[in-house]
């Protein structure tokens, strides 16, 4: 990749000598051509500029960014769960059910048995991993398409959640520092932005960044990551060279389940409430949109968790920015839908430009 890019810089430098602006643009284009995430980053920057101007500078305020980045964190964790699976050519619709079940169990165990939230949360995440395992086994062993498997488990898991406690939302206990570490915002405008309270304004997002960094490393630097991509891009070829594709897929289902459960736990720590309807299918759809906008192929074989995180930021910004700009309820979904499609078109076009430059 680098051997292609370096001569181009030299060539363009010769042509553009004396033209500082064009050289800067050229450098930017070269930089963009190196990274798949560049296209969605451009979309995000354009959108931030638009909202910042439209809101008279309010969009990038620390309070508003706290709202948007918290939303990004929740959506981002579900989006990267989908990315890991979509790379292998599978999908998981049940993540919204897992998102509801894990924290619900955590809170029930806390109020019924007095179990600390941290322990209950860990059990909830393990439960999410188990749901992923079941999804994976049914999909790869019994040869059921993952879309159907996970639609089934979505209903099954959601049914369990609403039947456990008669569909009632439960007020969750607050246990510090668990809540503050995992989602509760203690930030007040009078607090210093760099204080502990300032950090809590963004904890859901910071956790997501941590998970994204870990999975990005896994995808780029480990054999497991390589095999994940190989499984999605050419499953027959991957099997022929000895990749245990079934195991890879099951593992990624488990990662997805764990991420969804963790997102649910963070969500409950944030609002101190466990709601059986917390994980609506709308959440899954938005997460898939974020993953695809971020550069993950629906056909498998390629994807980026960093792109998905930026995609989640785009969707979260649209969700909240449109409200900020005063979109009325009856028309706000029109704007949201059009903006998601526009973001997708812009991302695809920038990506085409990027690919063309690489050639």
């Amino acid at each position: 990749m680098k051997t292609q890019a370096v001569p181009r810089i030299g060539q363009r430098d010769d042509i553009g000598r004396g033209g500082g602006v064009s050289r800067q643009i050229e450098r930017l284009l070269v930089l963009m051509s190196r990274y798949r995430e560049a296209s969605i980053a451009v979309v995000a920057i354009v959108m931030v500029i638009y909202f910042q101007i439209g809101s008279d500078g309010g969009f990038l305020s620390s309070q508003f960014m706290s709202v948007v980045l918290r939303d990004t964190g929740r959506l981002g964790l579900i989006a990267i769960a989908e990315v890991m699976l979509m790379i292998t050519g599978e999908i998981d619709i049940s993540v919204s059910g897992t998102f509801s079940l894990a924290p619900y169990m955590m809170v029930l165990m806390s109020i019924t048995w007095g179990l600390p939230l941290a322990v209950g949360g860990a059990i909830g995440v393990v439960l999410g991993i188990l749901i992923g395992f079941v999804n994976g086994i049914i999909t790869v062993r019994l040869r059921v398409p993952s879309l159907i498997t996970t639609v089934g488990t979505l209903f099954f898991v959601q049914g369990i959640v609403v039947s456990i406690y008669n569909s009632q939302p439960i007020i969750a206990p607050i246990e510090e520092p668990f809540n503050a570490i995992f989602g509760e915002s203690l930030y007040d405008p009078s607090d210093s932005f760099w204080s502990w309270h300032g950090v809590t304004a963004f904890t859901p997002f910071l956790w997501t960044v941590l998970v994204v960094a870990a999975l990005a490393l896994v995808l780029k630097k480990t054999t497991f990551g390589l095999h994940t991509i190989a499984t999605g891009s050419n499953i027959v070829g991957a099997r022929e060279i000895g990749v245990r594709t079934d195991r890879i897929k099951v593992c990624n289902f488990m990662i997805a389940g764990g991420c969804a459960a963790f997102a649910g736990v963070i969500n409950t720590a944030q609002f101190a409430s466990a709601d059986p309807q917390a994980g609506s299918p709308f959440l899954t759809l938005q997460a898939i949109a974020a993953a695809v906008i971020g550069g993950t192929s629906l056909l498998g074989g390629s994807g980026t968790v960093i792109g998905a995180l930026i995609g989640a930021f785009v969707v979260a910004s649209l969700n909240n920015g449109l409200v900020m700009l005063g979109a009325q309820a009856t028309v706000s979904d029109i704007y949201l839908g059009a903006a998601i499609v526009a973001a997708m078109i812009l991302s695809v076009q920038v990506d085409r430009l990027r690919v063309r430059r690489r050639r």
């Binding site: 918290r70 569909s167 007020i171 959440l283 909240n320 409200v323 900020m324 706000s332």
Partner: protein, 355 residues
């Protein structure tokens, strides 16, 4: 409006022969019989009555959101009424407001020769044919929680629940007294166009227009899940800090308004929050003085009364039973919230039957 509804329902329920006449005659006959009994000294104390017989009728409840926590007390109400009258019920319909699934559920109940159907009429037209089919098959149909508009040709016998538009209107009249003249407020709706919250929103808006106190408003699409609702309401507040009040139209968006108001101490700044339904978190926020009030539409009665009316209709051969019942008489405020906070079967927070 309630009066109109009742009159309309009575007209519908009466059919061609005039049901009201039949009831009047039955009452007159009853008075005459009682007088006769009294005159011969044979009247017995009510406590000596062997009571109504238990009958194994099976009724179907067709709900638009079968898993929604709001209907937990409704289910308890249906259970208790069934236990009292020896009946059974089946809770069916759609999980996500899909009208075609509800109509299919009604048709299935008709095919099973149900003894009576209680249905949330969340669409002004879609249930007309199924209702007519049921009535033609001798299966009484009662609407609960959501009803067809006044003047509808739908043949349901009665409506038990909150008149949605009117309850929105009444609630707005109550909160408009609390916000300053000429102020700006936010109205939240979880899913615009939703058949059980949109009429409440329309009622809010009409009351604001009729109020004449120059209150302006924005309507925010809060979103379909609690986290999105909180996020969007917070976004609205941060960009409209002059807002004098935030008002929800459903349970979760009312809670979202309360959550954000609590976070930013809106009550201390004179801001008013109110809405609908009894999320436990909303009740806590009422107790804390963050939310001014919420409207209780007595979900328990929406399960108990349909069974009672269907049972009486069946056992009396169609003479007794169907009558409209407005269940939305209660506002929960700081003064009476303690009665709601406890674990009570009547609000769905405990399955323990009262002793």
């Amino acid at each position: 409006m309630t009066k109109d509804l009742r009159g309309d329902a009575n007209a519908r329920a009466g059919g061609g022969l005039g049901r009201r006449d039949a009831l009047t005659r039955a009452a007159m006959f009853g008075v005459g019989a009682a007088t006769l009994a009294g005159s011969i000294g044979a009247a017995r104390a009510a406590s000596e009555s062997s009571g109504l017989p238990k009958k194994p009728y099976k009724f179907h409840f067709v709900c638009h959101v079968t898993l929604d926590q709001f209907f937990t007390p409704t289910i308890y109400g249906a259970q208790d009424a069934c236990a009292a009258f020896g009946c059974s019920y089946q809770w069916t319909g759609s999980q996500k407001n899909v009208v075609s699934e509800m109509v299919s559920a009604m048709q299935t109940a008709i095919a099973e020769k149900s003894d009576g159907i209680a249905v949330c009429l969340v669409d002004p037209k879609a249930f007309d044919a199924a209702t007519a089919m049921a009535m033609a098959a001798g299966i009484p149909v009662i609407a609960f929680n959501a009803d067809v508009p006044v003047g509808s040709p739908n043949k349901r016998l009665s409506y038990i629940g909150q008149p949605l538009y009117q309850s929105g209107y009444n609630s707005a009249l109550k909160f408009l007294k609390l916000v300053p003249k000429g102020s700006h407020i936010m109205l939240a709706i979880g899913v615009p166009g939703s058949l059980n919250t949109q009429p409440r929103l329309d009622g809010y808006i009409q009351a604001i227009k009729d109020g004449g106190n120059q209150v302006t408003y924005d309507v925010v699409n809060a979103g379909p899940d609690p986290a999105t609702e909180i996020s969007r309401v917070e976004s609205y507040y941060l960009s409209h800090k002059n807002v004098a009040g935030m008002f929800g139209t459903g349970g979760s968006d009312t809670y979202a308004c309360g959550f954000v108001a609590n976070k930013y101490d809106l009550a201390k700044k004179g801001g008013i929050v109110a809405g609908f339904d009894l999320f436990p978190q909303t009740l806590d926020l009422i107790k804390a003085g963050v939310v001014a009030f919420t409207t209780d539409q007595q979900a328990y009665l929406q399960g108990f009364l349909p069974v009672q009316q269907l049972y009486l209709y069946k056992i009396s051969g169609g003479l007794v039973g169907p009558a409209n019942s407005d269940t939305s008489q209660a506002y929960v405020t700081k003064d009476n919230v303690d009665a709601y906070v406890g674990k009570t079967r009547f609000e769905g927070r405990s399955d323990v039957e009262p002793s």
